[in-house]
Point group: C2
Chain length 300, copies 2
Amino acid sequence: MPMPADPLASGSLNARFSDRLAAAIDRAGVPACVGIDPVLDKLPPGLRSAPEPARAIHDFSVGVCDAVARVVPAVKFQSACYERFGDAGVAALRESIRHARSLGLVVVLDAKRGDIGISAEHYAAAAFTPPFDADSLTVSPYLGMDTIEPYLKHAGRGVFVLVRTSNPGSDALQNTRTEAGRTIAQLVGAMVSQLGVSHRGVRGLSDVGAVVGATKPADAAALRAAMPDQVFLVPGYGAQGGTVADIRAMIRPSAKAPGDMGVLVTASRSVIYPAWSSPNWQDDVRAAAKTLAKELHALQ
Amino acid sequence: MPMPADPLASGSLNARFSDRLAAAIDRAGVPACVGIDPVLDKLPPGLRSAPEPARAIHDFSVGVCDAVARVVPAVKFQSACYERFGDAGVAALRESIRHARSLGLVVVLDAKRGDIGISAEHYAAAAFTPPFDADSLTVSPYLGMDTIEPYLKHAGRGVFVLVRTSNPGSDALQNTRTEAGRTIAQLVGAMVSQLGVSHRGVRGLSDVGAVVGATKPADAAALRAAMPDQVFLVPGYGAQGGTVADIRAMIRPSAKAPGDMGVLVTASRSVIYPAWSSPNWQDDVRAAAKTLAKELHALQ
């Protein structure tokens, strides 16, 4: 696919999140996202020995961003890995997000937040203004769509609503069928799609995206039918078993450029924890990110 | 109801969470919880002018705990209100939880976390060891019960799983009926009950509790039938419209002491934001907490 010239290719928050993301994907040529889930005992040996754990995960996170910034359009930070270290960890997360955005990376804050009313407003303010100031946030649908609306009041930002995950216990709820014969995931997908209609950008994609794990292709096709305008944030590529074939079933049929595909495929462990073989660990991460990008080029 | 002498009435983490909570409720004589949701512009005038917002919410939170510690057995901290202020807010939360526990209050950390595998382990470690070191945590069921198990590996701690909420948009998912004719809330309730069986204490209550809003009594009775061993954390009493009659339908039929009722009724705004009329604002909060306790005595 040719990469279109896109007037929204800047990172300006005057553009919708979905348009900014699509433009960033077009520039990179591939809908890839590196998941940053820092865990102390997996860090490169030189960082593992830092006296302060929060310092080590900060330096690792910033170093990963530097390594992948020209290879992929987006990074996803796993909030749990930072919260684990309390306020020091949260400060490391804040600084890492700021650094990622300064490099032009689109930031997904993977915190899976969900609460009602004023609490949702607080979570939205935390995510989308300083301190954290991320481009997008993962959120939970269990409490209903009214609990997602507060996040959409922040111009230029987006959410990814949990719809379908690949963990062993996910079927018990997400795959249960309703009276009307749909699965719960499909019902939630329809709710997400409806909520997203009034938040679509010039590319036809909505600022209300969906988290959809790389599961069976039939499942993916039904969810794409339920959510024609959603960007699917697809975790679990690579180390967790997702393949290019699994993702192909999720792509919007109308896609003419990488940014129109409606997917953002995330790999974490396979990129940030490669075999450490280079004198500079960032070279190993960059090489792994390039491998990810090359594999995902096959989607086109 | 008489208050039984209870060998587990200490705060020792050698006892199960459910037994510690029941003992604390027996000591207080009432299953009441004060929700601490600090919002700057509602603080007592003397605190509102603090130069650092995080300092103001810290001082308010600590002051509320001091005011209510001899009146109610438990407090619930709304994480969003602290996260709003980034690492400084998270430090305020950490200190406030430590203070509450030092006063013998059972602490619910209301953060509604939910993630898979290793990320759930990180959230559990954050909640149940330093930095936060809370007694219990609210968690989301959408990803499945396998994502709740990591929290149960921490001895002496408990979770409250979101089952039924009272916000306007909650019906769309929680009240949808499955093929089998149950509501989604009832299905999740059955999953919670099953998960909780192997985590019951000497009182017959499980460390796996449920968040159940004060909704219609018929709804509450069906959820109690689905979850005989669960402590229901009931938000929204008072300012949000819940009444004693609504809560009565949730009480376990076998209850012989306040700690056996299987409810922990939470009031936030009506207690922490009373009309400020006393020279010392904490006297107003204490009086409001006493009113809450007196009202809930009617449950017996």
